[in-house]
């Protein structure tokens, strides 16, 4: 085992929740509103279905091959050569997606820190994440636990503060163009929810494995509820203007004004976003590093941390000349890649394993 640390199921949930929600915190309502308009409250429900499916696949794979991550499971199911090819492709995907997440983070920060070079913003994040990854899964779990309240409290506070300005009338007419627009709006969030498959890297290190399924399902459900609330709040506040506003949550924060002096809440949104991005990038980073080490049969993954961090920064620039381009990529291409690699491909592996009746030969290492 490359990873010797243990985390609790709750910590796993706290790692995965920001992974699912943090990107959605930024542009989510805008992306969903473009297709779904005022029916965007239903969209997180549709897209969360793939999240539940991914959880199911990850859990089933883990039941057949306990103590293994998806890379190892691939080896056990498909054999050495095909799995090596698939594994490398998989790592490329992880690298690319991590790069895009880092770029989203950097581009958002750069709106306010205009003169700071983008490379410095993204490198700074990667350096911090690298330390977290170096500490292993336990550090990841604890930082997630520490940061979780800081992620959720400013959000709730902000919603509370804009509450008087909300106009529920913007919800109507409900589903006037049928269900289709709300399903169309779910295409991009599909990718975000399929990211829950990253639990494949965390299930083997759970101290209390039986709770793993419950924690994962609740995480997806929690992310769905969060997104629905956020969608409703932004819709109630902005109405028909929503599809035109790139960062609706930040706009909501900027709207807060209590007694003429409690204003400028966008720093709270920045805090949410920095914390969320930190956890999310750390998790992807960790998955990439661990996966690479497993794919190459290394005995420890630490030496890979800095080179892969460097690659992630490179990928955050590669092929993304502008924010508009980034938006175009994240709208269709990235969700497609995510859904393929986090849901479709593991699903195929699972089916193949079921058909061939493959199971882990070695007896499960007792946990804890």
């Amino acid at each position: 085992m490359l990873e010797t640390g243990k985390i609790s199921a709750l910590q796993m949930g706290m790692i995965i929740y920001p992974v699912l929600v943090s990107t959605a915190m930024l542009g989510g309502p805008n992306v969903m509103a473009q297709a779904a308009r005022n029916d965007l409250w239903l969209t997180p429900f549709w897209s969360s279905l793939i999240g539940f499916l991914s959880v199911f696949i990850a859990i089933q794979l883990h039941k057949r091959f306990p103590g293994m991550t998806i890379i190892e499971q691939g080896k056990a199911i498909a054999g050495t050569v095909p799995s090596a090819i698939m594994g490398l492709l998989y790592l490329l995907v992880l690298l690319q997606v991590s790069g895009v997440i880092v770029r989203e983070y950097a581009d958002f920060i750069a709106i306010f820190l205009k003169e700071t070079p983008l490379s410095v913003i993204s490198s700074a994040l990667i350096v911090v994440c690298a330390f977290a990854v170096k500490g292993g899964v336990e550090v990841l779990g604890r930082t997630a636990q520490v940061f979780f309240p800081m992620f959720i409290v400013p959000l709730l506070l902000m919603i509370g503060l804009v509450f008087p300005a909300l106009d529920p009338g913007n919800l109507f007419p409900v589903l006037d163009r049928g269900l289709l627009p709300s399903i169309k709006g779910a295409i991009t969030p599909l990718g975000w929810y399929s990211e829950v498959f990253l639990i494949s890297y965390l299930l083997p290190v759970l101290a209390n494995r039986p709770q793993g399924t419950k924690a994962a399902v609740w995480t997806v459900a929690g992310a769905m509820i969060t997104m629905t609330i956020v969608n409703l709040v932004t819709l109630f506040l902005m109405g028909d203007a929503l599809p035109n506003i790139l960062f609706p949550i930040m706009d909501t924060a900027r709207y807060v004004s209590i007694a003429d002096f409690f204003e400028n809440m966008e720093s709270a949104v920045m805090a949410i976003w920095v914390i969320g991005a930190f956890i999310k990038v750390s998790m992807f980073y960790y998955a990439t590093v661990l996966g690479t080490a497993q794919c190459l049969n290394l005995t420890c993954y630490q030496p890979l941390i800095w080179p892969i961090g460097f690659l992630i920064v490179l990928f955050s620039f590669w092929g993304i000349p502008s924010f508009a381009e980034l938006g175009a990529i994240t709208l269709i291409a990235i969700p497609a890649i995510l859904a393929w690699s986090f849901c479709f491909w593991p699903g195929c592996l699972l089916l193949y394993a079921i058909v061939r009746g493959k199971r882990s030969k070695a007896k499960e290492v007792p946990s804890g």
Binding site: T116, D240, S257
Partner: protein
């Protein structure tokens, strides 16, 4: 060892300093901005900038007459759009302009007629300007308003902001404007204020009210102006009325009674029957009596009923007045009937949407007001009544 090298490398990267460091004393803080038309395809941007050194000298410093020292100064620049004009203004300043505290945006009447959406774009796209900043349309040139000395507040900007938060007129923020422009009705209402040079000296300020009414925009172009009275009607329609007293003449009591609404809710109930579009404006309000110049005793249920009936009629007539202008003159749906129809009749709305301009003036409006006078205030009979039995005389 590796750790030390790493720390050294990282600190090398950071030794360049903080790129986005800003010091307060490097900033020129804008408190208000005015946009006027300067010529063909040119605008005139004026900003009111806060003069920092004049503030805080009060305590120990040399006593200065408060009337002589200026707290703000006005700078202008011409350009093809706000960004361009801004760079011209910036060239006149030794400090970097900062929009973060700009609470007021004024637009001149002339530029408003040509459309202000392009200029608003700068304000909502740029990360510095506040979403909660208030918009005003000024009669004549907007820049003149910036020069007015406020009697109570530190600057015109502060005065206008306080004014907006009193909710006498219809306060409209940048975000409201953006949302209204994107709404189905595509009509916008912004408060309309007095020309700046009519409020120059103290005497004029005492005589003239700054708020003249509401500028009604069709899409982003000024279509017309509602008077203060019609503005009240619009506020009733939009469910935004807060504290405007309603004075009604009671023939039975030979005098006026004033009522201040405490609570008010307006519901728009659209109806399409046999292809005929109509809307029911349903208002529920309750209020207290604040002035009674009649001979009636306000503790008598029958006189309260009289007051309620005339308040109903008065509110109705105000709404009718506003609607007359909106429907027949400007053809601008500032009451947002479009949203009401869209919400209740989505299919019909989809078809009617392109013809909304033609349809809107034809819509039949029924108004139902349910006014309740709850409390008479502290006294029952009029204060000036010499007659012991006010009711007996009637």
């Amino acid at each position: 060892m590796r750790g030390v090298v790493l720390v050294l490398l990282v600190s090398c990267a950071l030794l360049g300093g903080c790129w986005d460091r800003t010091e307060v004393n490097d900033l020129a803080i804008i408190t208000a901005a005015a946009v006027d038309k300067a010529g063909k395809d040119e605008i005139d941007l004026s900003i009111q900038v806060f003069i920092p050194k004049e503030v805080g000298g009060g305590g120990l410093g040399v006593p200065t007459g408060s009337s002589t020292r200026e707290l703000t100064t006005v700078l202008s620049g011409k350009g093809i759009n706000i960004a361009d004009a801004m760079s011209k203004v910036q060239a006149k300043l030794s400090r970097k302009v900062f929009w973060g505290h700009c609470k007021i945006y004024l637009f001149g009447e002339e530029i408003a007629r040509e459309g202000i959406a392009d200029h608003i774009d700068f304000l909502v796209r740029h990360p510095e300007p506040r979403n909660r900043a208030y918009l005003y349309i000024s009669k004549g040139k907007a820049v003149e308003t910036l020069g007015i000395e406020s009697v109570l507040e530190r600057s015109t900007a502060e005065a206008l902001r306080e004014y907006a938060s009193l909710h006498i007129g219809m306060p409209v923020t940048l975000i409201d404007f953006r949302n209204m422009l994107k709404s189905e009705a595509q009509a916008v209402a912004i408060p309309y204020i007095q020309e700046g040079n009519k409020l120059k000296d103290k005497e004029q300020i005492q005589k003239n009210t700054p708020l003249l009414g509401t500028a009604i925009f069709k899409q982003d172009k000024l279509a017309g102006v509602l008077t203060s009275k019609a503005t009240r009607g619009l506020l009733w329609l939009r469910n935004e009325i807060t504290r405007a007293s309603i004075s009604v003449d009671l023939p039975e009591g030979q005098g006026l009674v004033s009522v201040v609404p405490i609570r008010a809710t307006t519901k728009l109930i659209p109806r399409i029957a046999n292809g005929k579009w109509s809307i029911l404006v349903k208002i529920d309000t309750e209020g207290d009596i604040v002035e009674n110049a009649t001979k009636l005793n306000m503790m008598e249920p029958s006189s309260i009923a009289l007051v309620q009936k005339s308040v109903n009629d008065e509110i109705k007539s105000r709404i009718r007045l506003a609607l007359f202008h909106l429907q027949k003159e400007f053809d601008a749906d500032a009451g947002n009937f479009a949203a009401a129809f869209h919400r209740k009749y989505p299919q019909e709305w989809e078809q009617a949407k392109p013809m909304w301009d033609a349809l809107y003036p034809q819509i039949d409006v029924n108004i139902q007001v349910q006014a309740a006078v709850r409390r008479p205030g502290l006294i029952s009979r009029p204060a000036g009544s010499t007659d012991e039995h006010g009711k007996a005389e009637k």
